[in-house]
């Protein structure tokens, strides 16, 4: 990571996003019960989201004071979401999208195979065998031993 004197790539944008989210949450908290009393359900959410707004403002001030890291977006891609993280994020997204259709076992198998072959880069058979083995162990431990019902998909 970068030193204390420099902003990390994308940090300023991140803090601004946090501020916007906090302001929106504060607005949502006001909508719960407004300012109608001191013991209403909305009081505490308003305090918490208010604290979020105040603290992000302070974080924003500190962040803005530090010197920018330079080459903002390119460095963000290099350091924060390099190819490895980006691909894994994509795979996780696929995992979430496919699960309702294919169910836990098939989706997880595909996810394991895809992510291990991407991260480990060994031959096809070894990766496939390893994914199948890992999945079998997980199935045995959780489905059979712990009796956890695993998600089923609409197709399988």
């Amino acid at each position: 990571m970068s030193t204390e004197n420099h902003r990390r790539p994308g940090e300023l944008v991140f803090v601004i996003l946090l501020l916007l989210a906090s302001l929106w949450l504060f607005w949502q908290s006001i909508l719960i019960s407004g300012f109608s009393g001191l013991s209403t359900p909305g009081v505490f959410p308003m305090l918490a989201s208010g604290l979020m707004v105040v603290s992000t403002l302070s974080i924003l001030r500190d962040t803005a004071r530090r010197a920018p890291g330079g080459h903002g977006f390119n460095r963000f891609l290099e350091e924060i979401t390099p190819l490895r993280q980006a691909v894994m994020l994509g795979l996780v997204a696929f995992y979430v999208v496919l699960m309702p259709w294919f169910g836990f076992v098939i989706t997880s198998g595909l996810f394991l195979f895809a992510s291990i072959s991407f991260l480990w880069r060994r031959n096809f058979l070894l990766t496939a065998g390893l994914s199948a083995f890992a999945l079998a162990i997980i199935y045995l431990i959780f489905r059979i031993a712990f009796q956890v019902v695993l998600p089923k998909g609409t197709l399988f």
């Binding site: 949450l25 359900p41 959410p45 992000t56 302070s58 979430v96 991260l119 890992a134 998600p151």
Partner: protein
């Protein structure tokens, strides 16, 4: 109360509980040792599977995991110079140079014996002080619980992370996550956006798995290609003379560990660093200089982090305030099992308290056994490539999130929290305060509202109550002092007092 001895030894004689404790301890050692797998992560994933079990079974497994996991981090610290857990950072400083000199076996043996010693001191403190504290805690009102909750969140927010503002933000975010769903007092929806899915709230175990499991997995992707160093192992059983020589040091370190562990929000990590610092300052003529493999510096942090385990259970069981991240997860487990950690736990279910004490002691015995054996097999497993480990963590986290209430939406929440958590970690926010916020937020909320209703909605009476009741006053002062210590005013006050005492001294 009279037959507490019976409950104390339940797990020692029941073969199934014995097995679960052993399995938990064993698993804990390995989980704790593998960098990237943390005890908190393991405990939060496991709890989601054990909530259908009998309480005792679940607690036996979790106690084992906790005990083993805190210790496990030391092994990778000694062998590979990679602390398996933050609590083993100081261990690596002294342990790895010892391993480089060919004393890896001795270092591991000494660490194990001393960790077990520290563990017992912590458990002893738990058995002795928890009943006293909980008797006192029955006198606490909703006002005091609100203050305790606020102190709990404050400590974590300040002790970790880059700045107080970041800790405060994380804590407040956690509070809001905890608020989602129907308000327990009026059944009004909060942040439900008129959807049925959100009415039940977001289970905090889901948030925990996301923030600790998946987020950490993404962070670990950065150091995927670090080479692994191999070590040779010989003598493991430590010399008796060493154990005797370092006895007083270990006793002091376990005192530090227990107290730090018992403070809400601080756990084994801080205890280990403080004990290391203490050993460094008090050891006059170490055989080997600190930083080059001094045994004193190896023993102190390891004793402290294991004694912090017993310490961390004290506020959790007596006040319902977690002592560290793992006990925060265990509180979640207790709630799932229908128990209410707090002063009434010892009154209503004393058997459970003594069961936990006995079980922790049992886990500690297993720690000694497993700690001194299987080190060669261990070195092989630790070398498992992260490229395989990380996808597995994501899958395990998904099963864990789903298992809580068989709701696929929880998997999506968990993964979303994981991704957000990655960015938080990258930009210097700690995720620990978020989890404490999720757990303590609803507690502070309901107690605040009760206290306010008790004051008939009059803000003057509400604040006067804080000053006019002795317990509330003490807690308020503690809270204000802690808050003050975070502001730029603190060094000024401290130097003022420092000068005064110097003048008085003269």
């Amino acid at each position: 109360m009279e037959n507490f001895l019976e409950f104390l030894v339940v797990s020692w004689f029941d073969p199934y509980l014995l097995f679960l404790t052993a399995a938990g301890t064993m698993a804990g050692i390995y989980v704790g040792a593998i960098p990237g797998l943390s005890v908190t992560m393991a405990a939060s994933i496991l709890i989601s599977f054990t909530f259908k079990w009998d309480v005792n079974d679940a607690l036996a497994l979790i106690a084992g995991i906790y005990m083993g996991g805190v210790y496990g981090g030391s092994r990778t610290a000694i062998l590979l110079n990679i602390p398996g857990a933050p609590s083993a950072i100081a261990t690596a400083i002294e342990g790895y140079p010892m391993a480089k000199r060919g004393e890896a076996g001795e270092a591991i043996g000494l660490t194990t014996v001393m960790s077990v010693f520290g563990g017992f001191i912590g458990i002893l403190a738990l058995a002795m002080f928890a009943p006293v504290i909980s008797k006192f805690a029955i006198m606490f009102t909703s006002r005091d619980y609100m203050l305790l909750g606020m102190i709990g969140i404050l400590l974590v927010g300040t002790l970790s992370g880059e700045s107080f503002a970041k800790g405060a933000f994380a804590g407040a975010l956690g509070v809001l996550i905890g608020m989602v769903g129907l308000d327990p007092m009026t059944a009004e929806g909060r942040f439900t956006f008129n959807t049925i899915t959100l009415m039940g709230g977001i289970p905090y175990v889901v948030a925990m798995i996301g923030f600790f499991g998946v987020a950490e997995a993404f962070v670990q992707l950065h150091g995927l290609n670090k080479p692994v160093i191999k070590q040779k192992i010989d003598r493991i059983i430590p010399h008796f003379s060493d154990v005797k020589l370092y006895f007083w040091l270990a006793l002091r370190a376990s005192g530090i560990g227990t107290i730090i562990g018992a403070l809400p929000g601080t756990g084994g990590d801080i205890a280990a660093l403080l004990a290391y610092d203490d050993a460094k300052r008090t050891t006059k003529n170490p055989e080997v200089p600190f930083g080059e493999g001094a045994k004193e510096g190896l023993i102190a942090p390891e004793v402290a982090n294991n004694s912090a385990v017993g310490g961390a259970f004290i506020p959790m069981l007596t006040l319902g305030i977690p002592g560290d991240a793992v006990t925060a997860v265990i509180i979640g487990a207790l709630y799932i099992h229908g128990l209410k950690p707090g002063p009434m736990l010892l009154v209503e279910t004393p058997h459970l308290f003594w069961f936990i004490v006995g079980n922790l002691a049992l886990a500690n015995v297993f720690l000694l056994i497993f700690g001194l054996t299987g080190i060669k097999v261990f070195t092989k497993i630790v070398e498992c490539p992260k490229a395989i480990l990380i996808p597995l963590i994501i899958i395990l986290s998904s099963v864990g999130a789903y298992a809580i209430q068989n709701n696929p939406v929880d998997i999506y929440w968990m993964l979303l929290f994981g991704v957000i958590g990655y960015f938080f970690k990258t930009y210097g926010f700690q995720v620990g305060p978020i989890i404490l916020g999720v757990i303590l937020g609803p507690m502070i909320d309901s107690n605040y509202r009760r206290a306010m209703i008790g004051a008939r909605g009059d803000i003057g009476t509400f604040f006067w109550d804080f000053a006019s009741h002795p317990i509330s006053l003490v807690l308020s002062v503690a809270f204000l002092l802690m808050l003050l210590s975070q502001t730029p005013l603190w060094p000024v006050i401290k130097s003022l007092f420092g000068q005064k005492s110097k003048v008085l001294g003269k």
